[in-house]
């Protein structure tokens, strides 16, 4: 068996790489695929917190590389989903503890046992990014509808194109606020795609539940009510080759809004 190795990157910090990794990983595992998440953000690890696995980590990526333990020993099984494993980053080291070849080797090894190997990339384009991308053959670029994030995403896409081993890269637009888009206060999904000229993998709405889920250590895809969770589930399906329509983010939640929209559409019809 040879699994797919996907790096989740963005260039800019704080756009939701780690949240996206945790949610896509959990969503893929929920669908029955075996998934391993690798946190490559050595020294600033967060992925374990989002999955609620912080208290289970004994060995880390750096321990594996420095041969203090076997790879299997360092994999932490998720407490909810047995298909999902985490390979945590060391908190007490820095990015120079890992080299590109070493990470590549680990990815090759994990590829044999898992359907998906997801790499959570650190922010920036320095060694941490280079390490994370080295092992991957596919990339997911996360961005938000902000000029700065889009600029950084553009830079990242350029770097990914320059790498021969990256066969495919797709875009996830995070934290979209449909109401702000409607009032022209935020760039729309189309604007972003027109700027970046990149295939769209999914659009994730801004959702307050993401904040609670981060604090609780439970990814949003486990919460049915969460719209962001639903969007991540759809992204996971698209990664697995299913054709899923994009969620209509303009859909108002309350009844009054629905009535308003209905009359609006009548008005347009006339």
């Amino acid at each position: 068996m040879s699994g797919r190795v996907i790096v989740i990157t963005s260039g800019k910090g704080g756009v939701g790489k780690t949240t996206t990794s945790a949610n896509i990983g959990t969503a893929l595992a929920k669908s029955g695929a075996s998934v391993v998440l690798i946190d490559t953000d050595i020294g600033l690890r967060n992925l374990d917190l989002l999955l609620g696995l912080e208290n289970r980590i004994v060995y880390t990526l750096v321990d594996v590389i420095e041969e203090r333990c076997k790879l299997k020993q360092a994999l932490v099984k998720d407490k909810r989903n047995p298909n999902l494993c985490l390979l945590a980053a060391a908190q007490t080291r820095d990015k120079s503890a890992v080299s590109q070849d070493q990470l590549k080797e680990i990815c090759e090894e994990l590829k044999e046992d898992f359907d998906f190997v997801l790499l959570d990339c650190p922010a920036g384009i320095e060694q941490g990014f280079q390490n994370a991308v080295a092992g991957a053959t596919e990339a997911i670029v996360v961005t938000t509808p902000e000029v700065s994030a889009i600029r950084d995403a553009d830079r990242i896409i350029g770097l990914l194109q320059a790498r021969e081993e990256i066969e495919d890269y797709k875009l996830v637009i995070n934290r979209v606020r449909p109401q702000m888009v409607q009032t022209n206060d935020m760039l729309s999904v189309d604007d972003v795609i027109n700027t970046l000229h990149c295939d769209l993998l999914g659009v994730v709405p801004d959702d307050t539940y993401i904040i609670t889920s981060t604090n609780k250590g439970v990814p949003a895809v486990n919460e049915e009510k969460s719209l962001a969770g639903k969007a991540y589930l759809n992204i996971a399906k698209r990664i697995q080759g299913e054709d899923v329509p994009f969620i209509d983010l303009d859909e108002p939640k309350d009844i009054l809004g629905k009535i308003k929209k209905f009359f609006k559409s009548l008005g347009k019809g006339e």
């Binding site: 020294g43 912080e54 208290n55 004994v58 060995y59 994999l75 007490t92 609670t212």
Partner: protein, 358 residues
Amino acid sequence: MNQNFSEDAYIIDLSYATSASDIVFELSSVIDNERAKNQNIALKLGKVDLNQSQLLSIRSLINSINSTVTFLETNSAQTELAAINLGIVVSSVKTTEKTEDTTNLAEPTLVPSYEYVKLEDHIDENEDSKDDESDVVEDTDESQEDAAESEDTQSEVSDEESALKEEKNNSPIISNDEADEIIVAKSEDIQNALDNIYSTEVKLESILDGEVSNEDGVISAAVVKKAVMNEAKYTEEDFEIDHFSTSYVKQTLRSGQIVNYDGNVVIIGDCHPGSEVIASGDITVWGILSGIAHAGVKGNERAKVRALKMNAIQLRIAKHYARKPDGMNTIFPERTSTFTPEEARVVDNEIVIFKIND
């Protein structure tokens, strides 16, 4: 049926239970019963073998409803020994005549005042020398010679060690329940038995937390106990730790910072989550311990971890490993001025956290 059942004791008969998890299951249903609250509890256990840490868990479960275990009846020699070590009045069904002396060891909050004085006398003697301590245990049950085993090294006991020893009380155990990926030498059976206890422990912790925040005095009064324990027998490993050199770290450890020292470490400050303290001897944190602490890293199982507030994400002592229970991570860190000094050490191959009272 037995003179040691005091008149107002609430008898819980669990003699039909076949495993530790049965007992905990039954007990957790008893907790909901109003009548069991604020009572002296007489526990009747059957043939189940309980070790000290399991018994501690059961006792803390009962403590959570403001009740106290005053008497225990068991068929198992192991349980009996564990109970004696915890200072619970015990009667083995086979040898009921031997229970007379054990009244001396009853817990101070429950026995009549004259016996309370007696107990204090014992404690005072113990502070002087460890040999008295073993005598006390011998009195309680002569059939348990292991418990009363006297050692040559005992004369070398330090005052500090012996003062610490009496004033321990259990608090919920953090144990390693599903560490599939982690190599820790563990017996499967203990593991399974404790898994169940463990789930109730978490519940208990939340009960405790809630009550403390409501009314500070209540729980601490119920929890404060003095039990004579032979656990603190002074061994060569203890001697080794007492003579390690000690390093003082006078700063707060932040995420990603490591203190690694061959000897004892004292941190004057907090240890934030993500920090690590590794020492071949004891670790003492004069502050809140929220990171990882690994004491006795070279294999000394007598090493201990102490903190003014124990909030560690993981505790490791020698080869043993315990982690913070899931679901205990509150969104907002608990801000409180009341510290509950605690000490973690290895009891029966499990890391157990004890309260250091006063």
